[in-house]
Structure formats: C-alpha cells, structure tokens
C-alpha cells in the first residue's frame, strides 16, 4: 500500500483542526490524533528579554485569555523578585482573573456552545452561531452578550483596556482602584448574578436531552488537576495544585513551584502542542484533565452560598467525580456564580481602595514559577533568569496542553462510534467538534467565526494510506 502524505496549506493558515484516525488490522480505530500545526515559539523568543517585560509579552499568547497569562506570568515574576505582593494588589489581581473567567466562560457557553445545545448538533452550520441562536431564543443570546460584556467591562475598568491590559505587573498591579470605579463595578454585579442564576435554571432541566452527548463526549474516568485553597475549596489564584484520582480522592497536593514533581512533558512529532502527563503513571497512561470539570471534581465547594448550592446540585449527578467532558458546560455556569460571589466579596473588602498595590524589586531569585487557574484550566509559567534579570529559559504549560491527551482520547471515543467498515460516517464532524469544544481549547475560539469549526479528518490504514477523508471549511 502506498503512503499518502498530504501537505495541506489550508490547515496551517486558517487554523483548521486536523485529525487523523488510525485503524488497526481489524479495521478498528485504535488511535486518534489531533494535530496542532501552528508553531508559536514563545518559550524560545523570550530568551534574553528583561523579566519585567514578561507578563505583557506573555499576554500576547492569547487574545481570548490574555489576563490569565498576565496573572501566571506576573506570579512567576513575583517569585523572581522574591517579594510579597501587597494585599490590595492581590485582591485586584484576583478580581481581574475572576472577571476573565466570567467573560471567557460566557463566551464558551453562550457564543460557542449554546448554539449546539439549543439548536442541535446537526442543525445548519450557517445558523449554528450566536446570531442563529438570537433568532430562535433572543433572551438567551442577549444574556450571553450581556454577561460577556460585564466581564470585559470589569477588565477594562481596572486595566484601562479590554484586551491586553498591561495593568498586572511583576510585584502587583500598576494602579489602584478608584472609588468611582469600585462603585461602577458594584453596580454592574446584580445583572450578572441574575443572568448566571436564570441560565442555570433553564439549562439544568435540559440535561435529560443530552444523555447521548453525556455518554459519548469525553466520558471516561481519569485523573484531574486543579488548584485548591488551604481549606480544599475552589481556587483560581493562590493555593496548591491538587491531583485527584479517578475515584475522586486527592492523592497529591503540591506547591506550585514543585509542579515538575507531578507533571512530566512529552512531545510527539505530529503536533506542536506538548503532552503533559501525570508522572506517577508515566506517558501516555498519565492522562489527566484540567478545567471546570477537574476543578469541580477537586474542590469541596466554594465557601459562598449561591455557588455552594449550585455546586451541590452539580455533584449530585454522579456518585463520585463527574466524568463526562460534556458537563464542563454545566460546570462553567457553576463557576460563573462562584466567581461573581468572590468578586462581590472583594469589592466589599475595605482594603480594596488602598493605594499600596505594588512591590518593587529587582532580580532576587534565579527561578520562579507562577500558577493560576485560567478559564480552561491550570496555567503554569516557569522562568529562569541570569544574575542581570534576563530570561535564560522559560517553560509554559497551558490548559489546552494539559488536556491534550484527554482530547485525543475523547476524539478516539467518538471515532469508535462513528467509523464503520473503514468509512467515516455522517455526523462524525459535528460529534468530533463537540468533543473538542467541550474543552473550549483556544483553537475552537479562534476558528469559530463562521459557526462551524473548520475540520479535516483523515482515516488512516495501518500502512499509512488514507482510506477516507472528511473536510469542512471555515
């Protein structure tokens, strides 16, 4: 059998997700690979840069979640400076990270996923977007837009700009909060609460409709990783990294600086995205998941009344950890509520207007790790500097990376159902898309503009020959 190598420029330029499915000798799908073909090289080209520039430099990694990178990067820089960030600086950073979680979750749930959920996976891709949703369910579309705007507005009020605010800096934040802006933020909270609550009210009763999706979308036991506070509650900024086993038990809890004790990183020549794995189990068995599913499996609760109530309802779905990636949609709604409650508490804190928000220092340590929870999961920035403060080495583990093995496994699971007799079945593209989207990886956001995710799936025989292909453009 001759081997077909396809070089597909469209794949690279337009950000198509390319997937290959590999058959064994019995024509059964034995492996699924999601190829990430864009090479970014951030870890390499920051070498030689002064570390104080890192947060803003790293924020450029992503236009959707720049704040998450700002936070993790600034925390790594705090460690390099060996300073303690002033309390108010911490509160303000937390507030911005929460605003980011709310706006990103709103984007994921309302703009990207609810068209699938409410219009159906097999509806017309041209209408399967927020505009199509607005036509049949204007109230939901309006809520989505308003909730996202709430988060963006909050980021803008703090940072001066909605995208890429350079406000989170090594040592704290660059300017304190004004009373006027605090009041504006406070005034915007009630509407956000109302949206979060009524969305849970209509979404949760729909659950029986999705039994099929729940069963087939990334439904498997796995390990999980997430940050937890000192009381074992949901946490996004400080705290330790917890490793949760498939039974839901916390098996490791480590300081962020020691992440390499539990996480190993593998590379494959067919993808530019690394494959982090749980070291204890080795590669590739050490598959684990991060993100809403993982956080809600790791945490005992939120410690705030509304979110705790929603959390208890959510966890009732299963007798142990919630395992289906489909439930990340539900999980995001619970997290939005928790984030809003914490934002409220921060605004009510009398220290919030204090003007000491930044610690200044030079390079006082040669190595620093910063960890935070981004909307999509745990984010790790790790830098080393020379004695002059120039970066000599950087390592990043982003949420989509942590979930890389899990996404491949989820795709494999769907492929086993939708590949019959050496052929790709109709409906395959939409199912695979739904698997990928449930993790809300960056590529789904950046390529969702036209409603359907551009996908290219190849079915590959043991010898390497391409047996079948499905392709959908942007």
């Amino acid at each position: 059998m001759s081997r077909i190598i396809e070089i597909d420029p469209v794949t690279r330029i337009e950000g198509h997700a390319k997937i290959t499915l590999h058959l064994d000798d019995n024509e059964e799908v034995q492996d699924a690979r999601l190829h990430i073909t864009q090479f970014r090289g951030f870890e390499k080209f920051v070498e030689g840069r002064p570390f104080h520039e890192m947060p803003s430099l790293m924020a450029r990694i992503c236009g959707i979640c720049p704040v998450s990178h700002l936070v993790a990067s600034a925390k790594a820089c705090d460690a390099l400076m060996a300073v303690r960030v002033p309390e108010t600086g911490v509160l303000l950073r937390k507030f911005m990270n929460l605003a980011q979680i709310v706006q990103s979750h709103a984007l994921s749930f309302f703009h990207l996923s609810s068209p699938d959920l409410l219009l159906g996976l097999d509806s017309d891709p041209a209408k399967r977007n927020i505009l199509g949703l607005a036509a049949v369910n204007p109230a939901v579309a309006r809520d989505g837009i308003a909730l996202r705007r709430f988060g963006q507005k909050a980021i803008e009020l703090l940072g001066g700009r909605r995208v890429h605010p350079a406000w989170i800096v090594p040592g704290g934040v660059s300017s304190p909060l004004t009373a006027e802006n605090r009041d504006a933020l406070r005034a915007s909270l009630p509407e956000a609460f109302a949206i979060a609550e009524r969305t849970l009210e209509w979404f949760v009763p729909l659950m029986p409709r999705f039994v099929e999706e729940i069963r087939t979308l990334g439904q498997f036991p796995s390990h999980y990783m997430a940050m937890l506070d000192e009381n074992g509650r949901w946490e996004h900024y400080a705290g330790k990294l917890a490793v949760v086993n498939p039974q839901g038990k916390i098996v490791r809890e480590i300081e962020s600086a020691r992440y390499q004790d539990v996480i190993g990183e593998a590379v494959e020549d067919w993808s530019y995205l690394k494959f982090p794995y749980y070291k204890h189990l080795g590669y590739p068995d050490g598959l684990y998941r991060v993100g809403p599913l993982a956080r809600l499996n790791a945490a005992k609760g939120f410690g705030t009344p509304k979110a705790d109530h929603a959390f208890a309802e959510y966890r009732k779905m299963e007798n142990g950890p919630v395992t289906s990636s489909f439930h990340q949609h539900y999980g995001r709604l619970v997290e939005i509520l928790g984030a809003l409650e914490e934002m409220q508490a921060i605004l009510d804190d009398p220290r919030i207007l204090d003007t000491r928000v930044r610690a200044e220092a030079g390079a006082n340590a040669s190595e620093g790790v910063g960890m935070s929870e981004a909307p999509r999961g745990t984010l790790i920035h790790h830098y080393k500097i020379d004695d002059r403060g120039l970066i000599t080495w950087a390592n990043l583990i982003i949420a989509t990376g942590h979930n890389n093995l899990a996404m491949n496994k989820g795709i494999l699971q769907a492929a086993k159902i939708y590949v019959k007799a050496g052929k790709l079945q109709e409906g395959m593209l939409n199912r695979v898309e739904a698997v990928i989207r449930s993790y809300d990886p960056c590529l789904s956001c950046s390529t969702h503009a036209a409603g359907a995710m551009p996908l290219h799936i190849q079915l590959v025989a043991p010898g390497g020959a391409v047996l079948d292909e499905l392709r959908r453009g942007a």
Binding site: G48, R49, P50, H52, E53, P55, S56, L57, R60, H164, A166, V169, P170, S174, E360, A361, G362, R388, G389, L390
Partner: protein, 240 residues
C-alpha cells in the same frame, strides 16, 4: 524695503515671510511659528548632528534637500517644509528605521510614549514596505538601574551627546559604520562595568524609544522626563 536690522534676517517659509535672528536654525524658526517639522535626532539643549534626516526641507532654486535642524536662517531663503516629495522621504526614513531593528510596540516599555511610534503615526505609516532585517541583539542589563536594548535603538545619538555635553562623562559613543553602527558604553564594555558612567540617567530620559529604560518598568510604563534639559542649559548659560 529698508535693509534688515543687523543680525535679523527675513526669509520665506511655506510661502510666508518670516523674520529670525541670523543664528537661528530654520527648525527653531518653524517651531516659533507653529510649523510642524518632524524630527528625531534633534533635541533642544543638545548640539545638532543632522543625523536622522527627518527634518529635511526643500529650498527654492536648489535640487538638494537640507536638514532644518542644521540649516541656518539666511536672508532671502525660500523653504518649503511640506511637499509630496518630503512626505515620501520622511515615510521612507521611518520605515527603514523600523525595518533595521526589532521594534515591537505592543510589548515595548515605551509603548504609547515613544517618539518613533508617534512619528510613524503622524506620518500615517501602517505598514513597512521594506523587508525586516531581524538582527539579533542581546539586551545589556548589566547596569544596576538601567537597561540598554539595541533592538529598539535608532542611532539618533541623543544619549551620546547628552552624556558628553551635559553630564560631561562621555560614557557613550558610537562604533561601527552605516547599518552596523551601534551605541556603546566605555570601550564596548557592559554598561554596568563602565567607570565613567555616573548613573545620572540623562541618556535614558532623552532616548526617543525604549532602547534605554529604567529597570523594573513593565510594558508601556516608561515615560521619559526631559524637562531638565532646557532648564540645565538655560541655567548654565546664565551662570557662564
């Protein structure tokens, strides 16, 4: 018309008669009359070198363009500060500057407070037509308080002049030729090892871009303060 008083000249700028002291440059006169001429290397309080050529003006009857920062006001001169040709050259100069080093505004300490950036904006430069050279320059962070990043240097030599003429240390100089020129401290030692540097920071404040910056500044945080220069110059003249 009666002859001009001694030391005073009259000439034509952009079709209008203007008068000036004979020791004034066309640039100084233009500024007095609120005529905007783009400049980069020129800075009030420092000697003029006419290096960047952004201030070029046209002189009636001469095919050669002259830098307004150097050109002295003379009787009967007829200059134009704006023309299609000048716009074209000015744009080209800034585009060449941008292509020569690694200017990435979005992640620069001087973003939003940069002379090069505002020049590019005022000239309407939205892309660069020349291939970028992407040279590889290391950052010199050896100084305790300041950072030198050649990637953002435009070789205006403001740092060289302020250090020599105002601070009197002459730590800075230029080495190499043409496109390979580079500002250096001492005899090309790391800045922190320079014995002549007094750590006054004047070079940092006059630098038009983020090439020289204070340590600890994050992106867009470096605002240069240059008020000291005219005061110092004036005070020294008065007490000379």
């Amino acid at each position: 018309m009666s002859p001009a008083a001694p030391g005073v000249v009259t000439f034509v700028m952009d079709g209008k008669d203007v008068s000036a002291r004979a020791d004034q440059t066309v640039l100084a006169v233009a500024r007095e009359h609120n005529v905007a001429i783009p400049t980069l290397c020129a800075l009030e309080g420092l000697s003029t070198v006419g290096a960047c050529r952004l201030c070029l003006v046209e002189i009636a009857g001469s095919p050669k363009l002259q830098p307004a920062c150097v050109l002295k006001a003379t009787e009967g001169l007829n200059v134009s500060t704006r023309s299609e040709r000048l716009d074209k050259y000015r744009k080209m100069i800034v585009e060449l500057l941008l292509s020569e080093r690694n200017h990435v505004c979005s992640v620069c300490v001087s973003n939003g407070h940069c002379d090069l950036q505002s020049l590019a904006q005022s000239l309407g430069i939205d892309h660069v037509r020349f291939p970028y050279l992407y040279p590889s320059f290391a950052v010199d962070a050896s100084h305790a308080r300041f950072t030198l990043d050649h990637n953002r240097c435009v070789l205006c030599t403001r740092c060289v002049r302020v250090c020599d003429e105002v601070e009197g240390a002459h730590t800075w100089d230029v080495m190499g030729r043409g496109i390979r020129s580079q500002v250096i401290t001492g005899l090309k030692q790391p800045w922190g090892e320079s014995e002549s540097c007094t750590t006054c920071g004047k070079c940092v404040q006059v630098c038009p871009t983020g090439a020289l910056s204070e340590k600890g500044k994050s992106v867009a945080e470096m605002r240069k303060r240059r008020d000291f220069l005219p005061y110092l110059t004036q005070m020294r003249e008065e007490h000379a």
